[in-house]
């Protein structure tokens, strides 16, 4: 847990995602009508305009699409950890489904453990789950 870090608001649209991470699953919205995945969560499918969807479990595997290494000035919670990494991961199931996360050395690791000079675009990664507050479990990533 990163004390003082901002947490996502759990909304009507996003609740299924956060229920998934709490259960140790990466779940992405899948349209019940046309079957397309979409992220971030939203009420309407942009491909067929259906309002019905299911939360589909993903394999949790993906590749690093890009990454940054933030330095201060930052919010105090993150300034203490800087420099750390933030990555964007594209999922194996659909490379246009991309999630922001962090690369860790191990599932219990910190966001500043990995030497940033070793991170490469295209690296395969696997999702892990870390509690981030009373009711939120964040997906982060380790090398696959």
């Amino acid at each position: 847990m990163i004390q003082g870090a901002p947490l996502p608001a759990v909304t009507e649209d996003s609740a299924g995602f956060w229920e998934g991470t709490a259960a140790g699953e990466l779940r992405i919205q899948r349209c019940s009508s046309c079957g397309r995945l979409r992220f971030p969560p939203r009420p309407m499918c942009p491909y067929c305009n259906s309002l019905s969807y299911k939360w589909a479990p993903m394999s949790g595997r993906g590749r690093i699409w890009s990454f940054v290494v933030p330095h201060p000035p930052l919010l105090p919670a993150f300034a203490e950890l800087a420099p750390y990494n933030v990555i964007v991961v594209e999922l194996d199931e659909d490379p246009t489904i991309r999630l922001v996360g962090n690369l860790l050395d191990d599932p219990d690791g910190a966001i500043n453990d990995v030497d940033p000079s070793t991170i490469g675009i295209g690296e395969p990664v696997q999702v892990v789950f870390q509690p981030a507050g009373e009711d939120v479990v964040l997906p982060r990533w380790v090398r696959a």
């Binding site: 901002p6 890009s66 000035p73 933030v86």
Partner: protein
């Protein structure tokens, strides 16, 4: 029907730019607007249209009560921060062309010289909407969000920090010629750029715009009325706004091709309604909250092909006086002032008037763009 050449920017005004200016944001707004009206030779009582940013703290009614306007019959705001500027002016031009008002003012006033005034520093404990899917992981500031796109751009197209230095050094040279610029007295070499501290790798301090207290305003009226006014008019030849499919504001990571931002949609309508194309643009003011927005915008507005924006900046292409496209000739957001891109608009007007401190000889056409990476807008100005 288009609004091509039907309206003009006839007055421009600005306050000083600085880290800590006296007076409230409302005072700064009123000072810049009054200066623009004086420049045009139009009395405040004639103002009947008001355009502003949705992020502007000074609402129309308050500004109107200070200026002493008459009846205001058109007012409107444009959202999305740095993407709004040209949209504010373009929407005012549409309102004038449609007869909803006769003399419109448009402005931006900000006090963000102080660290505590930075919007990202006010991130809530619970994030909803903008940043909901990024800030909890430490992708907190606009610079982090754009750095993510930059790293990918470098990976796909071989862009390097040398290209970004081309941008930063060019704009600093222009600022060094502009007494109003915050960086007027501060030269910067390529070595200075390379030695600067990181903010969000791969972006360093000098890839970022300035933090500025200041206000900028302009006056828009019909091309007919413009003929009799004090200043040579800058005709609004073209105008565009754009949101492209599946765009997400700032963290545009979720569409097929995240490196194609809203500029691509804006560009389509801008050129569709214009008599000229990118090759006919003599001077450009391109929104530069961050240096990589320059190559991305050059591509979006058709100055080069996809992936060629970084190389476009080579050989002094952006530099006054001899570059193929002198860009941000007052120093831009990175070296003149960061007034949410509105200072780029008045510099675009100065180039048409012939009064820039880095004046492009014989400039007859001038492109101004607002922020790429968010829902955006652009103006194409020309001499009558």
């Amino acid at each position: 029907m288009t609004i091509k050449d039907k309206t003009a920017i006839v007055g421009i005004g600005q306050t000083a730019y600085g880290k800590s200016l006296p007076g409230s944001e409302l005072s700064l707004a009123c000072q810049a607007i009054k200066a623009a009206l004086d420049d045009a030779g139009i009395a405040p009582s004639e103002v009947d249209g008001m355009g502003s940013y949705a992020m502007e703290a000074n609402v129309e009614a308050d500004v109107a009560r200070n200026l002493g306007t008459g009846d205001v019959t058109w007012f409107s705001q444009v959202g999305f921060g740095g993407g709004a500027g040209c949209g504010v002016v373009g929407n005012a031009a549409m309102a004038v062309a449609a007869g909803q008002c006769r003399v419109a003012i448009a402005w931006r006033a900000r006090k963000r010289g102080a660290r505590t005034s930075r919007p990202w520093a006010q991130t809530a404990e619970r994030v909803k909407g903008l940043g909901e899917w990024s800030r909890p992981w430490g992708l907190v500031r606009p610079v982090d969000e754009i750095a993510m796109l930059t790293r990918r751009y470098m990976h796909e197209y071989g862009a390097t920090r040398e290209h970004l230095a081309n941008v930063a050094v060019a704009f600093r040279k222009h600022a060094n010629r502009n007494p109003a610029a915050q960086m007027h007295a501060k030269p910067m070499t390529r070595d200075d750029y390379m030695a600067a501290r990181w903010i969000s790798e791969p972006l360093c301090l000098f890839d970022n715009c300035l933090e500025t207290d200041g206000a900028v305003a302009c006056v828009i009226t019909s091309a007919d009325r413009a003929r009799d006014l004090r200043q040579p008019p800058a005709l609004i030849h073209g105008f565009g706004q754009g949101i492209n499919p599946q765009h997400q504001v700032m963290t545009n990571y979720h569409r097929d091709d995240p490196l194609m931002g809203p500029a691509w949609a804006c560009s389509e309508v801008l050129w569709r309604n214009a008599d000229i194309g990118p090759d006919d643009v003599h001077v450009a003011q391109i929104y530069d909250a961050f240096s990589p927005l320059i190559p991305l915008s050059l591509e979006g507005y058709g100055f080069c092909k996809r992936g060629e924006g970084a190389d476009f900046t080579n050989d002094g292409a952006l530099e006054w006086p001899d570059g193929r496209l002198p860009t941000n000739t007052s120093g831009g957001g990175m070296s003149e002032a960061y007034v949410h891109g509105f200072n780029l608009i008045v510099e675009g007007v100065r180039q048409i008037r012939g009064t820039s401190t880095s004046q492009v000889d014989g400039a007859e056409t001038s492109l101004v763009t607002s922020g790429e990476g968010v829902p955006t807008s652009a103006l194409l100005l020309r001499k009558p």
